[in-house]
Amino acid sequence: MSGEAEPFIRIENVAKSFGSFQAVKDVNLTVARGEIFSLLGGSGCGKTTLLRMLAGFEDPTAGRIFIDGQDMSGIPPWERPVHMMFQSYAIFPHMSVEKNIAYGLKHERISAADRAARVAEMLDLVQLTPFAKRKPHQISGGQRQRVALARALARQPKLLLLDEPLAALDKKLREHTQFELMSIQARTGVTFIVVTHDQEEAMTLSDRIAVMDRGEVRQVGTPTEIYEYPASRFVAGFIGAISTFPARVIRLTGDLAEVDIPAMDGTFAARATPGLTEGQEITVALRPEKVAIAKTCPDAVNVVEGQVKDLAYFGKDSLYRVTLPGGDLIAVHAVNARRGPDTARPADWDDKVWLSFEPASAIILTD
């Protein structure tokens, strides 16, 4: 066993090029044992290439990958303590559910009885015991996904790689499976690295997320850190909805910054970030749910007047698009907490409204 300081997985200056195309550029990441870690990004951001390098299907052009202290350079996929759940599930079509799960075990020196017991345990884990003898075309998509999971877990890997695990499932099944994945991870204690393009999926599943863009890691953090404290406009825009406005720092007092936002036609207070200087050009970002909407002027630090241009009523909540004094639009999200024909919505189309937000809610972005 390595010391406490050594992380379970260390990705060190890893880069990968295909011809002249740089799929992954100089990535450094560490993952702790037992963590659910997500690689999040749009298509072509390099997340799948990174996953395939962990599995051993691709060799890094530069850099090294350590798993449990062991350098993985030159180690072929069949010798790595890593298993993968493929996006297409990659179930062997000519084998029964049981045989699929048992496949990896034939390389382990264990008795037939132990092997059968392990398969039974896996079938039980993913609740497929009644389907053990079925062929893959005789089970549903959700069941196939569970076969793929059981097959990858059967050899008790140190690390499980999941490539878009929920993408092929319909919405209802996806939510259910998400919690199931988390509970299976908790029970087995296996480290999960998940590749996904779905930010909601990454937010609910993961302990930590790495947001990737064009082969680079843009930010690593817990879901809360990524959502509430995005490090750049890219991350802020990628995770959740957000409205961004160009602004300029007027004055810095303590941990507050007075910023001029031309789109809102005024100066506002925002929580300062380290390294900010007076006169600096910045971007102020606001999450829709952090902005309050009212028909009367509220008693708040930051208030701006606007007019409702558009609204989408979802029942439990509403999404507004409000025209600001400068002509820009801002998204505002309000919960419809009260019931009744007149009071269901705080405002209606073309209403004059007052918007307000806390200084701490305004995100200052310099990148």
Binding site: F57, W78, V82, H83, Q138
Partner: protein, 279 residues
């Protein structure tokens, strides 16, 4: 009201007529009692009896089947290897030339293939002393050469449809590449291997041109025998033999079709059941 496409139906009838009337007339004349193939002399099965007592026909049939079995098996092994290489190794030096050369025999006139093989065997015999005499071995080698390409085409098509990740999954689960081939790739492409083998088998069984170039004294396959007999005039026993071949082939095709449609129906029914069960 839907109008019947009279023109299309007429064309269809003519097409069927052109194709099947000659075969039907051949079958009818195989029951002709007359020694003259084109003059009706009453119903008889005596040509079938004479066929079954004909040693020459029996020996030719045996030779043809032996050659077809060996050449189809070898062509399947070699053709599958070429097909897998073409599908798997995306880029290698000379891939275009390789795939072009593999499929060239498909369009090469059979006479050319036959002559070139004959020349090759003669040269080989002059240099190495083998094959001393043309016959069984040379015919088999020639048949492997030209039927391999059919297997390659079928296997290549199947491999291109196959999900690459199932091979990666096997590798990921601890199998070395040759185990992956044995456990996953070959079972998954087995339908292509079977149909490739059947194609190679039938092509070998009915080949006349290339066989006639590569055969030697004493090695007479069934198509060669029929061909040489017909040169002396169509006799009713040839009609009887041809009728038997047509009936056998027809039954085989019908059986294969029935088996395949049954498997497909069962698969669809099971899939419906699985989706109804949900989960």
């Amino acid at each position: 009201m839907t109008r019947r496409p009279v023109f299309l139906i007429t064309v269809l009838c003519f097409g069927f007529a052109f194709f099947y009337i000659p075969i039907l007339s051949m079958m009818v004349y195989s029951f002709n009692d007359s020694r003259l193939a084109t003059v009706w002399g009453g119903f008889s099965t005596r040509w079938y009896a004479s066929l079954f007592s004909n040693r020459q026909v029996g020996a030719a049939l045996l030779l043809s089947v032996q050659i077809a079995l060996i050449s189809a098996t070898m062509a399947t092994i070699l053709g599958a290897m070429a097909g897998i290489a073409l599908a798997r190794f995306r880029k290698f030096r000379g891939r275009t030339i390789f795939s072009g050369m593999v499929t060239a025999p498909l369009i090469m006139p059979e006479v050319i293939t036959g002559i070139s093989l004959l020349m090759f065997f003669i040269m080989l015999a002059q240099i190495t002393g083998w094959p001393g005499q043309r016959g069984f071995t040379t015919i088999t080698l020639a048949h492997i050469t030209f039927s391999m390409v059919f297997v390659t085409t079928v296997v290549h098509a199947r491999m291109s449809q196959m999900d690459r990740s199932i091979e990666e999954a096997a590798m990921d689960l601890g199998s070395r590449p040759w185990q992956v081939l044995k456990d996953v790739t070959l079972p998954v492409i087995s339908p292509a291997l079977v149909s490739g083998w059947l194609l190679a088998f039938t092509i070998s069984l009915d080949d006349v041109v290339i066989t006639s170039f590569t055969t030697g004294p004493g090695a007479t396959t069934l198509p060669l025998l029929i061909w040489s007999k017909v040169k002396l005039g169509v006799t009713p026993d040839i009609n009887a033999l041809a009728t038997l071949i047509v009936v056998t082939v027809g039954l085989c095709v019908a059986l294969a079709g029935w088996l395949m449609s049954r498997a497909e129906r069962r698969r669809l029914a099971e899939e419906r059941l699985a989706y109804r069960a949900g989960g």
